[in-house]
Symmetry: C2
Subunit: 477 residues, 2 copies
Amino acid sequence: MASSEAKPSRTAVTLKTPKGTRDWNGADMLLRDEVFKTITDVFKRHGGTPLDTPVFELKEILAGKYGEDSRLMYDLEDQGGELCSLRFDLTVPFARWLAMNSIQQVKRYQLAKVYRRDQPAIARGRLREFHQCDFDIAGVYDPMIPDAETLRIIVEVFDALDLGITIKLNHRKILDGMFAVAGVPADKIRSISSAVDKLDKMAWPEVKKEMVEEKGLTEEVADRIGEYVRHSGTVAEVVELLRANERLCVNEDIKAGLDDMALLASYLKALDVMHKITFDLSLARGLDYYTGLIYEVINQPPPKTDGEKKNKKDDAATQVGSMAAGGRYDNLVGMYGKRTIPCVGVSFGVDRIFTILKARREREKVSKSPSIDVYVMAFGGKDFDGLLPERMDVARRLWSAGIRADFSAKVKPKLPQQFKAAEDAPLGVILGQDELADGKVRLKVLGQVGDKGEAEKDRGDLVRLDDLVGEVKKLLA
Amino acid sequence: MASSEAKPSRTAVTLKTPKGTRDWNGADMLLRDEVFKTITDVFKRHGGTPLDTPVFELKEILAGKYGEDSRLMYDLEDQGGELCSLRFDLTVPFARWLAMNSIQQVKRYQLAKVYRRDQPAIARGRLREFHQCDFDIAGVYDPMIPDAETLRIIVEVFDALDLGITIKLNHRKILDGMFAVAGVPADKIRSISSAVDKLDKMAWPEVKKEMVEEKGLTEEVADRIGEYVRHSGTVAEVVELLRANERLCVNEDIKAGLDDMALLASYLKALDVMHKITFDLSLARGLDYYTGLIYEVINQPPPKTDGEKKNKKDDAATQVGSMAAGGRYDNLVGMYGKRTIPCVGVSFGVDRIFTILKARREREKVSKSPSIDVYVMAFGGKDFDGLLPERMDVARRLWSAGIRADFSAKVKPKLPQQFKAAEDAPLGVILGQDELADGKVRLKVLGQVGDKGEAEKDRGDLVRLDDLVGEVKKLLA
């Protein structure tokens, strides 16, 4: 039931979900909600407060926030009144909410669907309607402290999900400083940054071609960028490398960025997350609004051998892309109101995480949990009338006690059909005319699939109707 | 923060949510999620399985399902590709899902937002983006058994929410039979039904005027309808009344409807829900797809005196309208596929329920629960450096143990500021240079608001850092 699928139909309606969307139900839905709960628990542990915003926003609120990606926005038809678009992420609605309510300081989280008219690849967890789980810290604090906590949250989430990761870090100021030193004109920096962001999907010659042919850089400037951004390593290594470069280390932006990174490193050590971190100068992030630290999480546990490293990286990168990403955006809220509220946050890509966990579950063949606790059956001889009101009465007693119960919606159900319907329930209650006359029913622990014949012979223990709820609770405990 | 509100802004962007939408956060969000959980628990108790569908559907899937209300649908702009609309309810997407996946039998529930371009009245809980919580039973069963279970679910939900209600019942076959006997032409029955549905908001003369002037009935036919639909009472009373009417009781539709109602009454007795039921012949429901039993829940506990009755009814009806509604729709799934799957279900109007519960909470002044468990502070003399890495280390230990913790994001926070930030936390951990040198910290139960001066003097009990998590857990338990 995963993807949109066409089938013939009587009324010639195409029976499918819209392109890039899917239904969620059954084991998929349960697993997805488990992921939500795991992530939310971490958010709450860090004092997060929940927010929910409308699925669409005024078009002017979203305008000019997403750079080249804006073309992927879903617009609502103009039916008179306001012009609106479906939300593209949860960050801009959060900034709108902060500005609208003049909130100075908050840790908020939001779990919701966002919408992008991108080319879908459902098997890889890339959809047009997909989930984001965001945690953001807004407010004026001392430098890099909220940034460090956000990275700690990322580590806690993936630890809780039991997924190995690497967090790639970079800093917009360092990146912009490198572009400036390389000779990129100020008005081209954002668009060149977008090009660099494609380096995890495209090879350098292609990216260079885009910079030169589409964006008008000289070969020389492009080559200098190519040289700068190819470095990655531990935070200490890359900081040292940049500080040793005479042309780069004199740039004010780069200096400020390096100070941030060194301070961050000391906090990441106290928070025990350094072992998950790589400082990667090629990380750029597509969105316009980032102003400081940026990061992206890839599904790549620390490599054991060099050979393995190459394979693992390719595998994970092509399969699902980044599983979480974020950064600092200090000017976004100021675009809406009088006050600038600095913010830093992270967005978890639940659909990609789901895709990986589902594959793992399928390998491990996790069995599904029962959807009810008790199935109420009836049984009788020639004059059997089905005992429907009596079955209803027993189900009502169980429901009133908070116990999950069901019974056949037939007036006179056959016993084998009832046992079949009861297959997923751990307990069965069996009603018979004679026992009921005594105020009693039979309570039976239902066996595994396979001994159905046996199950139908053994009708369980006699229990007084008034004691049934207590006995059921004992058996379920 | 409830409604959309305009404020002046630097960039001349109107800082608001779109008309008829709102943000949810803080106490409102917690209360809303409590309502969701209460309802979901009941759904699970009845063996319900969750479903989630996309927020928009293909336009052709939704077309022709909602009668006159279709004009309220939100359409997505044609940006190339498929034409889509935001979902209008959860019933049609459910029917599409059943048909698309050839599902014969299921009890499914869905909690989601739906969209109608109606005139909003936010204070009364009427919005353009609003929540529905639906439970539906699909499949071929013996008559009225799933219908009775659905009504039982309604009673359990409102019992769990501690809200007094009345469930108004009617039957489409009886209604259509009455229209036929009154002389309404077959092709006008659905549109006359829509007019009758307005009787809970409009007086009879207005509804009659609509029937005669807009919908072309004769005065005589309209008056006959007016006479038939004014009856209500217990199921037994109304069944008897209709069976005693010579013109009505010979109509085949009415006969079949009355048989259903009599059978239903016997099941409702076994399920102990009869005391919440009124059979109301004026209930019509606007939507086209109902084919049998229909119902609507109003916020009106059984009246104690005649005088009170009148007041309560007006109050509840004008304040929030119906809090839940539903019915049987046996032909909807068949409109999409080869098979007809009979269905019955109920939809809870969470926003209206929320509005009532919020007013109650405000009367009862329920205090809010803390968002963290432990606040980590530091304190020192002249050379105090803020102990930030140490506070981070302690917070990390608490987070790793699943404890909700926070600390000041300042390098050198002042003690009074820290105590203020700790106000909502039940516990405080206080770090000092000397105690840390001994491997110890102070753990303190934070007092009520008002004894802050006192709180700052008493610095709590000395605890070994390695025992901290255990001691905190003991105090929180």
